[in-house]
């Protein structure tokens, strides 16, 4: 079976895209025995650093096992295979391997692999955009990138059960290509008015108008950084607005807790924490999130790429 491709994407920054992507990857690999490939498309490289550590990212960058290198090759007209940029055995699962209790009947325990990004990704993308710029066809760089990405994903074969794209805020060329190639989109949302406006703009201007990929059944919203106290009535109104605007919201949510913050500063690979220890009180929410995403992905019709 080809991998289910999920984009964790939003127009707005700081809503928890990388954290959500990491939690989904951890949960799918740990509880569902899935082979997960996490592709970081964000030049901030937060996800990459959380998974590989700073020194690991430097090592991957030196070995040119990054999405930056892959885009750079495309910009130079050199063929590079996406699978050749994969970093295996990243610290996501190793540190929770002890006490693993994967539920699936998979013969192999779940694993997370990553294609990390570096801050220079934006420059590689600019070079790519420049190479494919066409004044008569504004969308040409995106179309070209989508084609390359789809070919790269095809060549991954059935190596992964899930490919998760951690998108940057806004619509970079790579993010557009990932959104076009993805089977499903998950948008983390902070329940304040600006985030909700941004969600609507993301869908209406980006997914509907520009990319023409929006489909209600392929898009889910998840509340992140949820605070228990303050502004309850405003939050209820905002959430009603989200529902009335035609979005489907996941039951899971990620609370704004100290544990979630602490978790994102992932510990050393040899610390061997159990899943529960690592996530603290957030563990059950992350487990539920993984289960919901797995169910969502299962229902997604495959895109012909």
């Amino acid at each position: 079976m080809p991998a289910k491709k999920l984009c964790i994407a939003s127009m707005k920054g700081g809503v928890g895209k990388s954290t959500t992507a990491m939690m989904i990857a951890d949960s799918l690999a740990y509880f569902h025995g899935a082979q997960v490939l996490l592709i970081d498309l964000d030049p901030q490289a937060n996800c990459s650093q959380m998974l590989l550590s700073y020194s690991g990212l430097k090592q991957a960058s030196s070995a040119k096992n990054t999405i930056t290198y892959w885009v750079d090759c495309l910009a130079r007209g050199v063929q590079a295979d996406l699978f050749g940029c994969v970093s295996v055995g990243v610290c996501g699962l190793q540190e929770v391997r002890m006490g693993s209790r994967a539920k699936s009947g998979s013969p192999l325990p779940g694993q997370i692999a990553a294609i990390p990004s570096t801050p220079t990704l934006r420059f590689a993308e600019m070079a790519f955009d420049h190479k494919h710029f066409d004044p008569g066809d504004r969308a040409r760089p995106r179309k070209q990138m989508t084609e390359f990405l789809q070919t790269g994903l095809r060549k991954l074969g059935n190596a992964y059960d899930y490919v998760i794209f951690d998108c940057p805020p806004g619509f970079t060329t790579l993010a557009q290509a990932a959104l076009s190639a993805a089977d499903g989109i998950i948008t983390p949302l902070f329940d304040d008015p600006v985030s909700v406006w941004s969600l609507k703009a993301f869908r209406d201007f980006g997914l509907v108008e520009e990319l023409e990929v929006w489909d209600k059944d392929r898009h889910r919203v998840i509340y992140t950084r949820v605070q228990e106290k303050g502004g309850a009535s405003e939050k209820i109104t905002l959430r009603q607005d989200v529902n009335l605007s035609g979005f489907t919201v996941l039951k899971s949510s990620i609370k704004d807790t100290v544990e979630a913050l602490r978790w994102s500063q992932r510990s050393a690979p040899d610390s061997f924490k159990t899943f529960k220890d690592k996530y603290g009180p957030t563990a059950s929410a992350v487990e539920q999130l993984g289960a919901e995403v797995a169910a969502f992905a299962k229902k997604l019709p495959e895109k012909n790429i």
Binding site: Q35, G56, K58, A63, C73, F83, V88, N158, A159
Partner: protein, 194 residues
């Protein structure tokens, strides 16, 4: 039911993917260097300058790593002779073994489908027995698209190939882009000067 791949070169990409996403993870389990990296290249078309028989492994991969606390280097060249199910015979083991004169570890990779169970079991046993005798590693698979399900049946013995021979092989047979990647990685590992 997985279909038999009829053309051998159609399996080269799958072998390179296996090396990149699965083989390296299994090597790390044996030799847990955090910086262990594999650099695979299609070497099927690059003939050696000296000519001769059985000189072109289909795929080769350089595996590089460095110790963290006890200073040491890992720089191993692996060669892979790839066979379709119908192209598999005992000669393939000898061919894979012959490639070991360039590399530190010689592998035979083949698709195990298409024949009857009894027949394929018999062939596999013969192949494995001979490979074990010669020190050739054996990897087989049913679905070329599922690299995590490929089975390492037999680990190879290290050959006596010296570092300069392996180095020359990489210099002459690996594609340019892969050599650039290798150089960049060696620089990061502290081997080459900036």
């Amino acid at each position: 039911m997985v279909e038999e791949v009829k053309v051998e070169r159609d399996l080269y990409l799958a072998t390179m993917r296996f090396v990149s996403v699965s083989f390296i993870a299994r090597l790390r389990e044996l030799s847990p260097l955090p910086n262990l990296q594999a650099f695979p290249s299609n070497t099927s078309l690059a003939a050696g300058a000296e000519g001769g028989q059985w000189t072109r492994p289909d795929v080769a991969a350089l595996v590089l790593g460095r110790g963290r606390f006890v200073p040491h280097w890992r720089a191993d060249l692996h060669t892979f002779e790839v066979k379709t199910a119908s192209g598999l015979n005992e000669t393939a083991v000898h061919e894979a073994n012959a490639h070991g004169r360039f590399s530190n570890y010689a592998w035979l990779v083949f698709q195990a489908v298409g024949k009857s169970c009894v027949e394929s079991d018999l062939v596999a046993r013969k192949i494995t027995r001979l490979a074990s005798h010669l020190g050739v590693g054996v990897i087989h698979f049913e679905d070329p698209e599922s690299p995590h399900a490929w089975k390492i049946e037999l680990w190879p013995k290290r050959t006596g190939t010296d570092a300069s021979t392996a180095d020359r092989f990489v210099a002459e047979r690996f594609d340019h882009e892969m050599r650039v990647k290798i150089s960049s990685n060696l620089r990061a590992l502290g081997w080459l000067e900036e």
